[in-house]
């Protein structure tokens, strides 16, 4: 079994009166793909954003490589080499591919950016991922297709030599071929020893690439199981009812929002 790289313990998050996450635990292991599944509104994106420092969690602990850490903002997450690819891709349309990949972490001094070295690094990263559809790394992101944008966002994670990569529905808007490419890419990230969390609604994709499956049900962690120990049907049941046979929440019927 691989080392846990990121552990979340007892995380709670409310938006005003709405309690979105209840005592959520999640373990991300280096070199494994952990699929995070759950129905719409289960709280998957919220959980990711808490880890990324976008939202402050109400209570809960985060351990990074066994050490307790406090993630107070995107900078802290980046400093721990946690990279996030958001569902609503966070790219600036008016900037080009290179500028987006290095946004907030530009190379060179504060008073003189090193454009050439950033451009080279961005191109090498994209080339290593066999990205064929982007004609120029100096294309503004507004001129890229949805799949190309996704690729740029993921390439950013590779570029930054991340230890943990959190992907929020990276294939939701992609065609068949590009989905395949992104999934291959996800596997490759894990093979490099990165701890990967993949959010997806597509069960075929999940069973394709995931080593473990974590199911969120109405803001509670219903189950964290190795992918090979469960069937398709069981996971669907966990997602929709929060419980499947021995697995899942004790009495999901009593859960109220």
């Amino acid at each position: 079994m691989n080392e846990p790289v990121l552990e979340i313990r007892g995380l709670n998050k409310s938006f005003g009166p709405v309690h979105v996450l209840h005592d959520v635990d999640l373990t991300v292991r280096a070199g494994e793909v952990t699929a995070l599944v759950g129905d719409n509104g289960a709280g998957k994106s919220t959980l990711i954003k808490c880890v990324a420092g976008i939202y402050a969690s109400d209570t809960g602990r985060v351990l990074f490589q066994g050490e307790p850490v406090h993630i107070r903002g995107p900078h802290d997450a980046a400093a721990l080499s946690i990279e996030v690819v958001y569902q609503d891709l966070a790219l600036a349309d008016n900037l080009d591919v290179v500028q987006n990949m290095f946004l907030g972490r530009e190379r060179g001094s504060r008073w003189l950016l090193d454009e050439a070295s950033m451009e080279q690094a961005a191109r090498e990263t994209l080339a290593s991922l066999s990205v064929r559809t982007v004609t120029s790394v100096r294309t503004p992101v507004s001129a890229l297709s949805g799949g190309q944008r996704q690729t740029v966002a993921i390439a950013k994670a590779v570029l930054w030599k991340s230890k943990v990569v959190l992907l929020d529905e990276p294939t939701a808007a992609l065609g068949v071929a590009q989905t395949r490419q992104v999934l291959d890419l996800v596997r490759r990230l894990a093979e490099q020893g990165i701890g990967v969390v993949l959010i997806s609604h597509n069960m075929a994709n999940v069973f394709d690439v995931a080593d473990r499956i974590s199911v969120l049900y109405l803001g509670r962690m219903a189950a964290e199981v190795p992918a090979k120990d469960v069937t398709h049907g069981q996971v669907v049941e966990l997602i929709t009812a929060g419980r499947s046979g021995e697995l899942g929440l004790a009495r999901p019927e009593s859960v109220v929002l």
Binding site: A78, A92, Q99, S128, S136
Partner: protein
Amino acid sequence: MAQSSTASKDAAVPDFGIDTVPMTTPEALRDYLARLRAGQLGSLPALLGLVALVVLFASLSDVFLSLNNVANLLAQGAGQTMIAMGIVFVLLVGEIDLSAGTASGAAGAVLAMHYVENGNLLGGMGSTVFILFISVLAVAALLAGLLRIWAGVAMSVLAIVLAASGIAANPWIEMLLALCVGTAIGCITGFLVAKIGMPSFVVTLGLFLAWQGVILQFIGEGGVLGISSSPVLNNVANGNLSPLGSWLLFVLAAGGFAAATLGRHFSRRRRGLVTQPTPLVLSKVGGITALGLAATVLLTINRSSNESVVVTGVPYVVPIILVLLTIGTYVLNRTSYGRHIYAVGGNREAARRAGINVVKIRASVFVVCSSVAALGAIVYSSKVGSVDPQAGGLNTLLFAVGAAVIGGASLFGGRGRVFDAVIGGTVLAIIANGLGLLKQPAAVVAVVTGLVLLLAATVDALSRQRASTSAR
């Protein structure tokens, strides 16, 4: 890193069509045309408009292209062009600063009062107003501190020191004081918009009125503070470099531009990055050098209509604008601060997630805007030789915003350059000057200017549509 770079370089060739193969000149031109068709027009429409206007007025009026008028035109438009240069920063983050005009007027009024009262602002304002004035500066310093914009703190404190010390009139002190007051004003605007989170339209509308009142209070109804008796203050917009100075300026500006452009070009070449073809870059540098050369030759000819006086040399406003343009362009294109301004304007949430301090960036652009506007006030006050209660009011701000938009800056944020303000400002100055020469009444000038602005906004909107439809 280095190993992987050589290994993947070969793989990269088929992956990035135009990225790894150097472009030939025809290819580069085709690429440019394709981008134009896709709606990335930049300042091309404004440049074409500029040429059309010059041709139009030159054919209608013999005086228009006379050396005297050209030099005059440059000085006439300089003040509002400078305000527009500052406004570009605010437009880039998708905000608006309606108060930039009257804020510049307030800075100008302080400058003029300091000169006229020989540094005794306490006497000029009366003790109550003076204490309020110092308190506002202190508040500005405090707010800048809360925003951690240290330059804003320093400038605001410097303004307090200069104002309270009662130091005797000195044109350089006065200009520094005006700049400091402008910076302090920007700290207040920036805090209200970025930290408190009020819409910039409302904040700056309120401040527009407030600063107008401040100017009136400082100068008094119907009053005028003359500054033309100071040779330095008068020369800012009315003086010229000596012929030797003009040539030095040419060598510096053209040489600097060539060195920067070619240096960048060849260093990219060396590193195997895509560049424009060398002949194209060379002809660009050559063309601009030739333009500068022609302008310098013409402006160093005696253009006086009076036999007994000699007027030669490049007006001081030209190096002033060039320096601002260079600094502004450098900051926006080559520093991380500039990059973050574009990012905040393009997608504020993305910038926040990338760890950029969005509050600070949004506040700082108002500081830049008001500071540059104060410099603009120095120039336009110098041009008319005095500051009156209307300084910076009326259409000053609207013309400045118009200049930026005509030049190609977008009101929606994320797109624009300091150069756009210069082009747009020149277009507006030419319209006002040309129609004036043709003895057209103010009504016509206003209507034409409005139509040109509408035209520019239409081009902007259409090219945006084009860009969004051709994107996918």
